[in-house]
C-alpha cells in the first residue's frame, strides 16, 4: 500500500525555481500546487486543502513573512520557509510569524524533501499516527494532549502548531529536566547536524506567549526546561 502523496502549496516568484522545484518534488513523491506571488498563494491556500506550505521569503504583492502570518491566523498547517543564510533577520521574522522550519537557498532537492517529510511526520505523530500512548500529560494546570495537538491552561484551550505541540510534548515528558537546543533540534525537528538553534529559541518564545512566560525556564549555556 502506498501512503497518499502529501499536498504541497509552493509559493515562489522565480518561474524557473518554481517549475524545477515543483518537478523535483513531484518526482520525490509530493503533489505540488504552485503560486507565483503572495496574494495568489493566499487565495490558493484558502481554496485548497494542503498538508504543508512551502513559502519563499521574498514575494511580490504579499511578502512571504506576511503570508505566513495570514496563514497562521486560520490554520495550524505546517509551514516551511525558503530563505537564505545571508538574510538572518528574515529567518527570525519568518519563524516568529509562525513558520515551523526553513530551508536555505540554494537547496538540495533531497534535503528539501527531507525537511518537508520531517515536518509532516510531526503532524502525523501529533495526530497519533505513530501510535503514541495517547495519554494526556498534566503539569500543574497545564494539560497536554499529544494526539490532539491541543493544550489547556487552567481549562482554557490553547491552539498549538504541530511543531509547538511536539516541542511542548518533549519538554513535558521531561518535566524539570534541562533539554539542550541540540537535543530539541534532533527530537523535534530531526536535525542531526547543523540545525539552527534559532529554530528552538523562536519556538520557545512562541510557546511561552501561548502557555505563559514563566513555565519554561532558560538555563544559560544548557538549554530549556519546563518547570514542574
Amino acid at each position: 500500500m502506498s501512503a497518499p502523496r502529501p499536498q504541497v502549496l509552493f509559493v515562489e516568484d522565480d518561474s524557473t525555481i518554481r517549475e524545477t522545484t515543483a518537478l523535483l518534488l513531484e518526482t520525490l513523491g509530493f503533489d505540488v500546487t504552485v503560486s507565483a506571488d503572495g496574494q495568489a498563494g493566499l487565495e490558493a491556500f484558502r481554496a485548497g486543502s494542503f498538508d504543508v506550505a512551502l513559502v519563499d521569503v521574498m514575494l511580490p504583492r504579499i511578502d512571504g513573512i506576511s503570508l505566513v502570518r495570514l496563514i497562521r491566523e486560520s490554520s495550524q498547517i505546517a509551514v516551511v520557509l525558503l530563505s537564505a543564510r545571508s538574510e538572518p533577520l528574515d529567518v527570525v521574522a519568518g519563524l516568529e510569524a509562525g513558520a515551523d522550519d526553513y530551508v536555505a537557498k540554494p537547496f538540495d532537492g533531497p534535503v528539501l524533501a527531507a525537511r518537508l517529510r520531517a515536518v509532516l511526520r510531526r503532524t502525523e505523530r501529533a495526530t497519533g499516527a505513530d501510535g503514541g500512548d495517547g495519554r494526556v500529560i498534566t503539569v500543574r494546570d497545564l494539560k497536554l494532549d499529544p494526539e490532539g495537538m491541543t493544550a489547556r491552561v487552567g481549562g482554557e484551550p490553547v491552539s498549538l502548531t504541530t511543531t509547538e505541540a511536539r516541542l511542548l510534548t518533549e519538554l513535558a515528558r521531561n518535566v524539570g529536566i534541562v533539554l539542550s537546543r541540540a537535543v530539541l533540534l534532533e527530537r523535534v525537528w530531526e536535525y542531526d547536524w547543523d540545525g539552527d538553534t534559532r529554530l528552538v529559541d523562536v519556538h520557545i518564545q512562541r510557546l511561552r506567549a501561548k502557555i505563559g512566560r514563566d513555565r519554561i525556564e532558560t538555563v544559560r549555556g544548557a538549554g530549556y526546561k519546563l518547570l514542574p
Partner: protein, 412 residues
Amino acid sequence: MTRPWHSLRWRLAVAIALIAAALSAGVGFAVYDRTASDRLTRARDAQADRAVLAASLLRSTGQTLVGAEIDAPNAPLELRKAVRDGRVATYRAREPRPLVWGGAPLRGDGVGAGVYVRESFAQDERALHQLRDTLIVVGVTGTAIAALLGVILASSLSRRLRRAADVADQVAAGDLSARVGASGHDEVARLGHAVDAMSEALAERLRREQRFAADAAHELRTPLTALTSAAELLDDSRPAQIVRERVAALRLLVADLLELAQLDSAAAGPPTLEAVALADWLPALVAERAPGAAVELEQPATVLTDRRRLERIVGNLLDNAQRHGAEPLVARVEGDAISIRDHGPGYGAEFLGAGPQRFWTAGRDRGAGSGLGLVIASGHAAAIGATLTFADAPDGGAVARLTGLGAQGVAA
C-alpha cells in the same frame, strides 16, 4: 624597540643639549673676556693718571702724594725701565698679590728718578671670579634645561610618530579599524591624518569588494537554485552526472561566499552560548563528516560556545583534510583544544606564511573545494574568540589546531 641611539628622541635631545652648551660657553667666554679687559684698562688708566699727578705735584710743590713713592725699589723691573726711558707706564702684577702699578718720570727729559703708585687689583679679580662662576652656573643650568626641554619635545614628537607607525603596522596586520586620531596642524599631525585616510580608504575598498562578492553570490543564488533542482531531474547518463557534480560544487562555492559575506558583515546576530561536551560532540561530528577518521580524546573538556560555529569550524577542517590531505585522519581533543591532522603533503610554506587566503587552492586539487573553507573556519574561530592555527607536522601531514574555546569543566 629600537636601540636608544637609533631613537629620534635621544638624537634630538642630545643635539639640542650640545647646541645649548656651545652657545652658553661662547656667550659666557665673550662676556667674561670683555669685562676682564675693561676692568684692567680702567685700573691701568687710573694708576697712570695718579702717577702723572704725583710727578707734577712733586715737581711743582715738592710734596709727595699719599701712597706715591719716589724711585720705589720694589716696583717691577720692566716698569722702572719704561719710566727711566721717560714714558708713563703701568704694570699688572700677579705675584705675590694682584696689583696694578703706575709710574711717571719726574723730569721731562727722562733722566733720573720716577714716581710710582700702586693699587690692589684683588677686588676686581674677585669680581671677575664671581662673574666667571655665575656664567658657568648659568651655562650649565641653561644646557640642562635645554636638554630637558629637548627630551620632552622630542618625546612628544617621537611618541606621536611612533603612534602613527603603530597604527600603520596594525593596518598592515589587517586591523582596518585602527586610527591615529591625531590633533593639531603640524607635520606629524599631517602624517597621522594621512595614515588615517589611507586606512579608511583601504577599509572602504575592502568593504566594496566584500559587498561585491556578497551581491554576486546573492544574485547567483536564484538561478543556481533552479539549476540544482533541474540537474537533479536529469537521468543517470555520464554528462548528466557531470552536470550534477559541477552544480553541487558551484552550490558549495556560493554557499561559502554567502557565509563569508555574513562573517564579514558580522550580521550573524548575537551568539547563542551553549555547553558542548567535546567527548560526545566530536566523535558524533566525525562520524557524520569524516567517517574514516580516528578520534582521540584526552581529558576532553566541556566548553561554553556557539555550537553552530564550532560545527562549521571543525566540519570545514575535516572537509579540508579529506579533500587535500591523506589518510589516516586524526581528530583529537586535548582539554579544550581540538586538532585535526592528516598525513598528506601538508599545508606548505606558502600557505603557512600567508595564512588562509580567499580562493587559495593553487598547486592543489583545484576544483575540489571552494577555496574558502579555511578562511570561513578562521572567521568563525575569531567570532567565538578562539584561535585557529595551522602547521605542518615534522613527520609529515597538516595539523590544524583550535584553541582558546574556554573549558567549563573537564569530563571525568
